[in-house]
Symmetry: C2
Subunit: 226 residues, 2 copies
Amino acid sequence: MTVLQIRLNDNLSLKDPQSTELGEKIIRHSIPLIDQLGFEGFTFKKLSVKMESTEASIYRYFENKHRLLVYLISWYWAWLDYRIEYDTHHLADPLQKLDQALRLITEKKIQDNSFPDVDEEALARIVVAESDKIYLTKQVDEDNKEGLFRGYKSLCKNIARFVKEVNPEYPFPHALVSTALETANQQIFFAEHLPSLTEMSEVDDPYKRNYEFIRSIIFNAINREG
Amino acid sequence: MTVLQIRLNDNLSLKDPQSTELGEKIIRHSIPLIDQLGFEGFTFKKLSVKMESTEASIYRYFENKHRLLVYLISWYWAWLDYRIEYDTHHLADPLQKLDQALRLITEKKIQDNSFPDVDEEALARIVVAESDKIYLTKQVDEDNKEGLFRGYKSLCKNIARFVKEVNPEYPFPHALVSTALETANQQIFFAEHLPSLTEMSEVDDPYKRNYEFIRSIIFNAINREG
DNA sequence: AAATCGTTGATAGTATTACTATCAATTATC
DNA sequence: GATAATTGATAGTAATACTATCAACGATTT
């Protein structure tokens, strides 16, 4: 098995958690804990108890719990970005590339053995429930200046490139893709918790339904214009 | 001028803030304060100082600050719902009704003199930045059982009805409308803070652009199917 | 082998938050 | 004029989100 590492912006952490045992322990334990407690209920104190270390030690890696969340979500986006690249570069038809990207965005995530410290299934649940919180803050502009959202932007840009290849005249490629990315998670959340807001809940495989929904929106939007 | 009142679910507050002076003071002062500080920075202590009352008094109206936020956002949705009803009931063509609804959802909100205690402009900014937080919590299912999200669901259902009238065969009316509602706010946020995720930022009137974007998505989605 | 450096653990401390409780003063209602 | 409800004033508490200090330990350098 290849030893891969997802490379992230240095500003996300004070010290690269992927470089030490303790750092990896933080990643390994924070994912199931945030998944269980929700981000509001999660604290560094609880994490330190779970991983048998101390609050002070965790603060040496992450300025605060918000930064840790941004780190985890950024990891997820970079991971997705990499998988899309990996699964589309052999395709010639941009429409097929776009379709494959939408498939990967919407599919139910399962464990990726290349990254044993990350429980991707739990992380995907965190992304559904918490990802918007990383930028819906008063410090969004400062955080953005530090490059904390580069992963999400890169993912958006890469898929938008497929859209442009399919139809160079379409006027909203980035808006369309950011909408697709947000909707992919939102509708899954609605299906589980607010089912009257969606049709995804009516069927045994909401992920497949969601893919069909988003695919139809995107393809119709692109083909009609230009 | 008619004296109107937006009727909301009783569970949103311990005591109806629209029924007393103090209650209206809470509404009047909390909107600009949350707008300024963001929901995380906002506290009942700060609000009590601003409105020259006490924390204890505020707690007699709202169980906690989360409930107050849900109350304000619910008010906004009910207000929008009412305005859509008001501005579409005279139209015969469902396509025109839908179009008018999308216009109202996406347009820049200005002061509505029917409700002097509510600064709709500030409230609209709160909705953009904070509305997702009212359901992205661990207590979403309990809150939902209490009916706290009825306003949003009703709005979604009413617009979805227009979609169904336009094309009864379209398989995702609610998902489409909830996507439109979320996107309406999201793209405005992106335009201001993460402009590389959208094209709305490139133009002098992002609201109009956003309307065109969402309109084209919705209409193309509906017309292609069925 | 000794000195030094960096990492972690252990402990303590602080301001703020998110409440809850109590009681007196005031106001509205019967 | 009595009484009930509302508000204000004050106090208190557990938890949170940190910051600071210092000792212990292992690895690296000289």
